[in-house]
Symmetry: C2
DNA sequence: TCATCATATGAATAACTGTTCATATATACA
DNA sequence: TGTATATATGAACAGTTATTCATATGATGA
């Protein structure tokens, strides 16, 4: 090319499809909700947290039991539980010296069941 | 403390609950499946990819239309489509100069519907 | 066949995230 | 009340990731 003028990337009105774009934009969920969904999936998108959640599907557990179950340090588990707590996905109760965590929301099971179905084809 | 000896973190057999841990370990899904689930959620855990997926719920779209819809560069969209492609979540077809992307799997809708329900309380 | 243009890709950068290590907190129970 | 201990937290580090910029690729359609 003779000049610094760069090539168009899908010049408007020719190969782009403005009417489709507009129609899709109208029907899509609000930006804010999409951000929340991404944020939720981000929390689910870590194998440690997935393992914690799946463990809690089976039983409430104290921190050190989770650590033992996953063969990880108490600190690492505690940090991840904080993430789950901030996302309001787990709740906890004290019993003696231990603190027992459990899942806070039944939707989590539904979401994970769908994901399991997908993963197992 | 007088020595480098650190305190126990939930000494076995006392405050830990080995029978519960073992029982949960038995019932949990295989490690490999949990990794796949985490990997799937990781792909969903980005707002750009969530927006692309939700756009594709409404209609198949070419790359430049997605870029316009999301107000992002063609390159950024292309990079993210590659991630979705590698996860086998989208498929594509050529039509003239454009390449139209669409969702490859109906499970995605199910998973997202559950996530939307959760996010909207 | 050749120039064009939609799309793909590679390298670089900046921001983010998970674990570790060290230590603080706080509750139980002696 | 004081000590032991289950849990929480902060800082640091390493690994990962999303975007940008520049450029390659490759099919179209003239």
């Amino acid at each position: 090319m003779t000049d610094k003028e760069k090539m168009p990337v899908c010049a408007d009105g020719e190969h782009s499809h403005p009417e489709i774009v507009e129609s899709v934009a109208d029907r899509m969920a609000d930006e804010e909700i999409l951000m929340d969904v991404a944020e939720l999936f981000k929390v689910f998108g870590d194998s440690t947290r997935v393992r914690i959640i799946c463990a809690l599907f089976e039983s409430e557990l104290c921190v050190c039991d989770i650590a033992e179950l996953l063969n990880m340090t108490q600190s690492a588990i505690s940090h991840q539980l904080r993430v789950l707590k901030q996302a309001r996905l787990v709740k906890y109760r004290r019993d003696g010296k231990s603190i027992f965590y459990s899942l806070a929301d039944s939707h989590i099971r539904t979401i994970f069941n769908s994901a399991f179905e997908h993963v197992m084809e």
